[in-house]
């Protein structure tokens, strides 16, 4: 039974297009946002 479910999951996953590069790209973007935001937040704290 468990095997069946994993098999079903696998076929479902295979249907999804391969988007590894997309995932990597958006996460790079996300890290840039976090880095910039935190920098300005620290500038604010530094100037308090």
């Amino acid at each position: 039974m468990a095997k069946l479910i994993t098999a079903a999951r696998q076929t479902k996953q295979e249907k999804e297009p391969a988007l590894k590069g997309t995932l990597a790209s958006v996460f790079l973007l996300g890290f840039f946002v976090i880095f910039s935001w935190v920098s300005v937040y620290f500038l604010f704290l530094h100037r308090l």
Binding site: P17, L19, G21, L29, F32, V33, S36, V40, F44
Partner: protein
């Protein structure tokens, strides 16, 4: 399903072109003003004949922020609607022309009073600085004209839906309508302050004005205004670019969902421009900060959809590895390259926006030149480069011509010039802003203040960037004039992408306008009712008008 027409009807093409011409004329004049501003701010150059820096700056802001954008968007949307849902009816087209002439005469009227020095109040015209009444009347004509055009689009869309019951409307039509609904709902605010407060006051019919109410109505409009600029760029990204590169749209229904989220959350957020203002409680400011953050979500979705479109296409062409798909993109096609560079610039642009909107963090950047750097990335790069990229097929499509290889190469160079110029100008604006350099200010050392002297190298870098950008303006004008009047005759495609998967039922549910407009109104009421009542009930004595320029 009936195949939509492949070509924009010739009569609709004329209407769209008329809008584009005014837009590019505004770019020419406004771009020149921009060059002068950066030169003045460098401290190495003074305007001749006693021309005021602030007259130039008002010209620049109004022509580029209000005229270029609004005209291009309405022209583009008329073309998009006609292309995807068929030729406009004669009635709708007539409305479109009425709207065009109202907007054009309004622009001429406003421009006259700016250029004659009677309205150096900048494009935000904050009371109690008081311009000549003609300035406000011209602006009111522009706004009301745009409504007339909006109604033309609504009528056309409603007719399409009546004859296509049970069908999902074409994506570009859906998006155009969403953007016009957004515009109508938000511009009610600016119309209210202009028509009921500023025009009677500048005509002398009333002698005092409620300053904070006027500003609040302005910013109720001012933030959605920037989304009104951005959404047509997103239309090109979602619905056109996939076809240009030869791929498919990543997801039709997610694109629609993103647009609905923009409609809902871009209006009840104007306080993020008023975070440092007296008279508004910090609680209500924070409520709108939270709502502002909601409007980031559809942009997160858009970022994913764009990368996914590119990666899927690249992989379908045999790309491997994590980033191999990048190499498969059509880098030498300006219709792709210009909007793509626009997308890249949206990464720092959007990041800056998140910082600006972060409640008390706004104290670090408010009214510094950082903000100017920010919106030259958003509107003057992301949006404008996408509009340029769209012009490369839209103008020849409408004029029955084709873009030559040489012009395409020039367009690639134009994009690079713009990107380099903007990196200099906007980059140094961001850094100078963090050091505290104010925006909207002519050159000044503030009595040799040590801080102000530190900003000068950055201001020189801005002038270098501004000069490079002005070369970019000349190049785009050369290309546009070529495409409109001189390019060889022929057929150019208006690219419209197909969805990768068939329409989902959800897409149909997203056309429930009564629900969306109801929700928009509810959100606006939640965000604004109490603070506006406070502003009116606790109002100080009003202000009389000042002409301090």
């Amino acid at each position: 399903m009936a195949q939509p027409l492949e070509k924009v009807d010739r009569r609709d093409a004329k209407l769209a072109l008329a809008h584009l011409f005014v837009a590019f004329a505004a770019l020419a004049l406004g771009g020149f003003a921009g060059l002068l501003q950066t030169l003045v701010r460098s401290g190495k150059f003074e305007l001749p004949a006693g021309i005021s820096y602030y007259t130039i700056l008002t010209t620049h802001g109004v022509l580029l922020g209000l005229v270029l954008t609004t005209f291009f968007i309405i022209g583009f949307q008329f073309a998009a609607v006609s292309r995807t849902t068929g030729a406009l009816s004669d009635g709708s087209r007539r409305l479109g022309w009425i709207g065009f002439w109202m907007m054009t005469s309004g622009t001429a009227c406003t421009a006259f009073f700016i250029l004659t020095g009677q309205a150096s109040v900048l494009y935000t015209f904050y009371a109690p600085l008081q311009a000549h009444a003609g300035f406000y009347i011209g602006l009111a004509l522009v706004v009301v004209g745009s409504w007339v055009s909006g109604f033309a689009m609504f009528a056309h869309y409603a007719r399409w839906r009546k004859t296509h019951r049970g069908q999902v409307s074409p994506l570009l039509a859906f998006m155009s309508v969403t953007n016009m609904v957004l515009w109508l709902v938000c511009s009610l605010g600016v119309a209210a302050t202009v028509v009921f407060q500023l025009i009677p006051w500048s005509l002398g019919l009333t002698d005092r004005v409620n300053v904070l109410l006027s500003r609040t109505l302005f910013w109720y409009f001012g933030h959605p205004l920037v989304y009104f600029w951005l959404l047509p760029a997103y239309m090109v990204w979602y619905a056109v670019i996939p076809k240009v590169i030869g791929g498919k749209m990543f997801s039709d229904s997610l694109a629609r969902l993103a647009f609905i989220l923009f409609l809902l959350f871009s209006i009840p957020v104007g306080f993020h421009h008023q975070l440092l203002e007296p008279g508004i409680s910090p609680f209500w400011k924070y409520v709108q900060v939270v709502l502002t953050f909601m409007v980031i979500i559809p942009s997160l979705m858009t970022a994913f959809a764009m990368f996914a479109t590119f990666e899927s296409y690249g992989r379908s062409q045999g790309a491997t590895g994590l980033f191999g798909w990048l190499r498969k993109l059509p880098w030498s096609d300006a219709r792709f390259f210009a909007p793509f560079v626009g997308m890249l610039f949206f990464i720092p642009a959007g990041t800056g926006g998140i910082i600006n909107a972060s409640h008390q963090l706004n104290q670090v950047v408010h009214n510094t030149i950082w903000v100017t750097g920010h919106f030259h990335l958003t509107v003057a790069t992301t949006v404008v480069l996408t509009f340029f990229g769209a012009s490369y097929w839209l103008i020849p499509h409408l004029t029955g011509r084709v873009m030559t290889k040489a012009m395409n190469r020039l367009a690639i160079i134009q994009t690079i010039v713009w990107a380099v110029g903007m990196t200099f100008m906007s980059g140094s604006m961001h850094f100078a802003g963090l050091l505290g350099a104010p925006r909207r200010s002519a050159f000044s050392t503030y009595s040799n203040s040590p801080q102000a002297l530190e900003w000068i190298p950055y201001q020189i870098a801005q002038a270098v960037g501004g000069t490079i950008l002005f070369i970019g303006i000349i190049l785009i004008l050369v290309i546009v004039i070529n495409l409109a009047f001189f390019a060889p005759k022929g057929e150019t495609e208006f690219p419209v992408a197909e969805a990768a998967a068939p329409y989902e039922r959800a897409a149909l549910a997203l056309e429930n306008w009564k629900l969306w407009i109801g929700l928009v109104v509810a959100l606006i009421l939640i965000a604004y009712t109490v603070p506006i009542i406070d502003i009116i009930q606790n109002a100080p004595p009003g202000s009389k008008g000042y002409k301090l320029w």
